[in-house]
């Protein structure tokens, strides 16, 4: 066994871990980044530009049913046990983690959202700004009070069906409804004079991996910038198997990991940053039985849930064929719902991501009745004239939704796999009903028709966003009911820090990644400060 000594060891190279290495290495700390996966090369290991049909047969032979090459082929689908209402786990073992295959949606949480947190919007705002500048985020300045504007590059316009949805929202607003319809904000640079990465060329493959590295990922920005300092050592295909504690169990001294040839190695460090994902970070804390005197590790798990409503606009049936790719599917967002006054039937709120346009990777409408030329025609018309409204609501925190260890199933290193429990409750069902009602209202006000719409709403109809899990290692001021403090430092083991979205104290309807990056940045600066003061030992 070899031993190597570092100031800080960061485990996990996704959005949170990546930014931590960037901040720590730039501050002069010697950093080890431990990542289970290997480096994937944009445009080589994943490539959405390649036409689907050219590769169909090869991919079928290779066992992949999806005819489009996708970074999601690398996900570990079986690395957890699902219990209850069909939870999923979007684990991607690769340098950059899930930041390789996110849609880039970058929405600031607002002042009202942070009311449920032990920190305020104003404390996080400067980190949002830095994150947006580093990431390259486009958006329009909409002046929404609870989704503040950021450091935006040039916005990307909506397509025809989305403009019609906007028309519907405007009509409802004149009747006194409180809601807004705005363009999406994404970590995809659009200003031609921006130098850090290539600007977007609007090919629409963002979610499955951007093959020109325009969309922000840890692997194309944060980690290379950290590397450039000379202070970062990257350990790929290295899986942490153990967290090493001092004899009194009040501090940790390092980790053990399995290297790519199966050998066990050791990294000694003054501080450890866990950023393995909401599910994996909780799993490692549970396996090592550390940081859990509050017994909150794995609890408070939440995510976004929702369903889709499809709108169809008869006036667009014969519109000219246009290039609708853009920056992947969702160019617009219905938001501002129940920020001011909560709905009487449910707590928290939701937003609706809207998208439109022909997208052969995922045709919005395939289930058209009939056959023959009339079927072909109808399918074509429906797909150019439709818009998909994808609802995203905050799942209520409950005792029935949590992460624990599977007593039976183990990974290849003999460690228990995580078990993810999910159960929808009455708040979720009430919110889902309102989601559908709102969407139908908007579509009808816009002069469209509801093409498809869930008939009745039960937990069976709801889908969980398995990339949006947060909350298993929540932050708080009271060590009795939280795992980390308001910075992200563990209450129990003071040289343990958490840099992923497991620390979220509450979950608004907005997408998690930008806030994850801002919080990890903030946590890393505190870590640097403690190192300067010699508090890390």
């Amino acid at each position: 066994m070899t031993k190597q000594l570092f100031d800080v060891c960061v485990v996990g190279s996704g959005p949170g871990g990546g930014i931590a290495t960037y901040v720590l290495a730039n501050a002069g700390l010697r950093v080890a980044l431990v990542e289970s996966g290997k480096r994937l090369r944009a445009g080589i290991d994943y490539n959405g530009h390649g036409s689907a049909y050219a590769q169909l047969e090869e991919r079928l032979k290779a066992g992949h049913r999806n005819p489009f090459p996708s970074i999601l082929d690398f996900s570990e689908r079986d690395h957890f046990t699902a219990v209850g209402d069909r939870p999923g786990h979007g684990l991607l073992k690769a340098v950059g983690g899930r930041s390789l295959c996110w849609a880039g949606h970058s929405l600031r949480f607002g002042p009202a959202d942070f009311k449920r947190w032990p920190i305020s919007y104003d404390e996080v705002a400067p980190y949002y700004s830095r994150a947006e500048q580093l990431m390259g985020v486009y958006g329009s300045r909409d002046g929404l009070w609870n989704m503040p504007d950021g450091e935006f590059q040039k916005t990307v316009p909506m397509r025809c069906p989305e403009m019609l949805l906007k028309r519907g929202v405007q009509r409802l607003k004149t009747k006194g409804r409180i809601m807004d319809f705005v363009t999406q904000r994404k970590a995809i640079p659009t200003d031609k004079n921006w130098k850090r990465r290539q600007t977007c060329h609007y090919c629409g493959h963002c979610m499955n991996g951007c093959e020109i590295d325009s969309k922000y990922t840890s692997a194309n920005t944060a980690i290379p910038l950290a590397m450039r300092t000379g202070n970062l050592t990257l350990f790929t295909e290295s899986t942490m198997t153990r967290i090493l504690l001092t004899k009194d169990r009040r501090r940790l001294s390092g980790i053990e990991y399995v290297n790519r040839s199966g050998g066990i190695e050791r990294i000694e460090c003054k501080a450890l940053v866990l950023a393995c994902s909401t599910i994996e970070t909780a799993r490692h804390l549970l396996i090592n039985n550390i940081g859990n005197s509050s017994e909150q590790v794995g609890k408070n798990l939440t995510s976004h849930f929702g369903l889709d409503v499809v709108a169809m606009f008869p006036e667009l049936r014969y519109r000219d064929a246009s290039n609708d790719d853009g920056t992947d599917y969702f160019h617009s967002l219905l938001t501002g719902l129940y920020w001011d006054r909560p709905h009487p039937d449910f707590d928290m709120t939701y937003q609706v991501q809207c998208g439109a346009g022909l997208n052969p990777r995922s045709l919005a409408i395939r289930d058209v009745a009939g056959y023959s030329s009339s079927f072909k025609r109808e399918l074509r018309y429906l797909n150019v004239s439709s818009a998909v409204m994808n609802m995203q609501g905050s799942l209520a925190v409950s005792r029935d939704t949590y992460v624990d260890l599977d007593p039976d199933r183990k990974d290849r290193n003999g460690l228990p796999l995580p078990r993810v429990h999910l159960k929808y409750g009455p708040n979720d069902i009430a919110m889902a009903k309102n989601m559908v009602e709102t969407c139908v209202e908007v579509i009808e006000a816009a002069g469209g028709e509801v093409y498809s719409n869930p008939e009745k709403i039960t937990s069976q109809e709801l889908g969980i966003d398995y990339n949006h899990w947060v909350g298993t290692v929540r932050m708080g001021t009271d060590p009795g009911n939280s795992v980390v403090d308001t910075v992200g430092q563990a209450h129990d083991v003071r040289n343990l820090f958490v840099g992923d979205s497991s620390v979220f104290a509450a979950y608004p309807e907005k997408n998690p990644t930008l806030t994850n990056i801002a919080l990890s940045w903030r946590m890393s600066e505190h870590l640097v400060e403690k190192a300067r003061r010699g508090e890390l030992g």
């Binding site: 530009h49 036409s51 689907a52 049909y53 169909l56 047969e57 079928l60 066992g63 049913r65 005819p67 489009f68 990307v156 316009p157 909506m158 397509r159 025809c160 989305e162 403009m163 019609l164 906007k166 028309r167 929202v169 405007q170 009509r171 607003k173 004149t174 031609k192 060329h201 609007y202 090919c203 629409g204 064929a321 246009s322 290039n323 609708d324 790719d325 853009g326 920056t327 160019h331 346009g357 022909l358 997208n359 052969p360 045709l363 395939r366 009745a369 009939g370 056959y371 023959s372 030329s373 079927f375 072909k376 025609r377 399918l379 074509r380 797909n383």
Partner: protein, 143 residues
């Protein structure tokens, strides 16, 4: 495979707008997914194809491939009635076959570019989006 091709072509035929399922290579696609599929799928297809020929024999005393396009459409008409609630073997086979035909066709070059007239997968400097002033909301116009 011939019957499969004829069925796929009846679901998505060649017409004045675009070539159909056969030209797009759909039969070979279906053949690949069925041969790579599990026994359940293989059974559905072999029994389904037999049932189709039995239907054709019953109505015209010849196999499906020998039927005229009009006769083939008439047989598909029978099959597609219960598309929403497939009950019999024939219904289920039709639903599976149609889904596979749609998947194959709309991931082919012909389906994507000629039929759907997809304009994307291009490198562009600016994304134009909607350019129609009549799609903008009233609020914007009055400003």
């Amino acid at each position: 495979v011939n019957t499969l091709g004829a069925l796929a072509e009846t679901i998505i035929p060649s017409d004045e707008h675009s070539p159909g399922a056969k030209a797009a290579g759909v039969p070979a696609y279906i053949d690949t997914i069925v041969s790579a599929g599990d026994n359940h799928l293989k059974q559905l297809y072999s029994q389904g194809l037999e049932a189709i020929d039995a239907l054709a024999q019953a109505s015209g005393r010849k196999p499906f491939t020998a039927c005229t396009p009009t006769e083939q459409v008439a047989i598909l008409q029978k099959l597609s009635v219960n598309e929403d609630h497939p009950l019999t073997l024939e219904d289920k086979f039709f639903v599976a076959l149609k889904r596979a035909t749609v998947d194959g066709y709309y991931t082919s070059s012909i389906g994507i570019h000629q039929d759907l007239e997809y304009q994307g997968n291009k490198m562009v400097h600016n994304f134009t989006g909607c350019t129609h002033s009549n799609h903008e909301g009233e609020e914007e116009h009055s400003r």
